[in-house]
């Protein structure tokens, strides 16, 4: 992109931009095909169950442990700050709202993208590179219906569940630090939290966010794998792109969704 004079080559920038738009169009066609060919996944739920294991169950450990740690840190930091205003009893509110509205969906999504998303990309990229997808096509089995669609639905189902688990563990972590360790009053911890966290406004919005993230991450991961150049460098580049693109998209979508959902409150 830079020529010897150090000036940005405008033609290259334009070229990259057009490439990105073309790629986005291809990606949209890809996801449309995936949705259209999802009939097989629903007729044979076994396929989705298998993928649920690989993307959901195997991500459990990292989600639960991270959730616990995040909750505990929130407990510490929250107490530290609230103490200056004499509002330590509001710690439960702080921890719960931060997790349910933002940290739960977003951090769980970032972790999911790194663990399960990159695994999906690598798996499909490798299947493409070793001609397994072509073999399937030659056997008159549609690889999108058989390989891509079940992974898509498994990702979409896993994401909100993992985000909920993250938030729940986080609240528990905050409780551990705040009530058990530091000594905030247990009663006011929970009662203020229950008063302040509204099911429709906060929890449901958080679930909607995680669903949207699930769709986005799985779409990106599957597309990058499917489109990867069938070489070792191609697949490794694709997995990196999955993680980077997913992370940026999650944070961007989070901004958009938050500005819609929490406007008037």
């Amino acid at each position: 992109m830079f020529n010897r004079g150090g000036i940005v080559n405008i033609r290259h920038v334009g070229h990259h931009a057009i490439d990105s738009v073309l790629r986005l169009g291809y990606a949209t066609r890809f996801i449309a095909l995936t949705l259209l060919h999802s009939g097989t996944s629903f007729r044979r739920p076994r396929l989705i169950v298998r993928e649920l294991y690989f993307s959901g169950v195997l991500s459990l450990i990292i989600i639960l442990v991270s959730g616990l740690f995040v909750g505990m840190v929130l407990g510490f930091q929250g107490f530290h700050t609230l103490q200056t205003y004499g509002s330590e009893s509001a710690l439960g509110v702080l921890v719960a709202l931060s997790l349910v509205r933002e940290l739960g969906p977003v951090v769980a999504a970032l972790l999911f993208a790194s663990r399960a998303g990159s695994a999906m990309t690598a798996e499909i990229g490798l299947m493409k590179a070793t001609e397994q997808l072509s073999a399937m096509e030659m056997m008159a089995v549609d690889p999108i219906a058989r390989v891509v669609a079940p992974r898509f639905w498994a990702g979409v189902i896993s994401m909100p569940l993992l985000a909920a688990l993250f938030s729940a563990m986080g609240v528990f972590g905050g409780y551990l630090v705040g009530v058990v360790l530091i000594g905030v009053d247990e009663g006011s911890f929970w009662s203020q939290m229950q008063n302040a966290v509204d099911f429709r406004e906060d929890i449901l919005n958080g679930v909607i966010k995680s669903c949207v993230f699930g769709v986005a991450i799985t779409w990106i991961a599957l597309f990058e794998g499917y489109d990867a150049p069938p070489t070792a460098e191609g697949v490794s580049g694709a997995t990196t792109r999955t993680v980077v693109t997913s992370s940026l998209v999650i944070l961007g979508l989070d901004f958009i969704l938050t500005s819609f959902m929490f406007r008037g409150v």
Binding site: I157, S167, F199
Partner: protein
Amino acid sequence: MERSTLDLWVGLFVCAGIGALLVLALKVGNMNGFSAADTYQVKAQFDNIGGLKVRAPVKSAGVVVGRVTGVQFDNTRFRAEVTMSIDKRYQFPTDTSASILTSGLLGEQYVGLEAGGDEAMLKNGDSITLTQSAVVLEKMISQFLYNKAAEGNTSK
């Protein structure tokens, strides 16, 4: 991996996830949204509603009995018209008074109902006539200063 083991783990995972959602919904949040069927609508007009928002609670004797569902401006009388949904279980006399109060010193604002003594009860669509507006801090301060000044004059 054995099919049955796989199924077991996935089943546990989905259960745990739904369980977490339930825990969040029930223990962490509160789910007291009144469904529309169990409520009746009542209106009240105020000179100033202060910071009252839609979905603010309507309380009587400190207990939540309903929610504010709408805030409109009445252009003929130049007052704020507040619509409330009250739980059908609670009946209030027609001479009930409604005031806009603040929970705590700097908390959110809510509508407080104080029952009157009338025998007839409010029905769906009725209006509460006795209302007291929100206390606006600036007016209170200027009132206080004015009183202080007046006091200073009379004591002279």
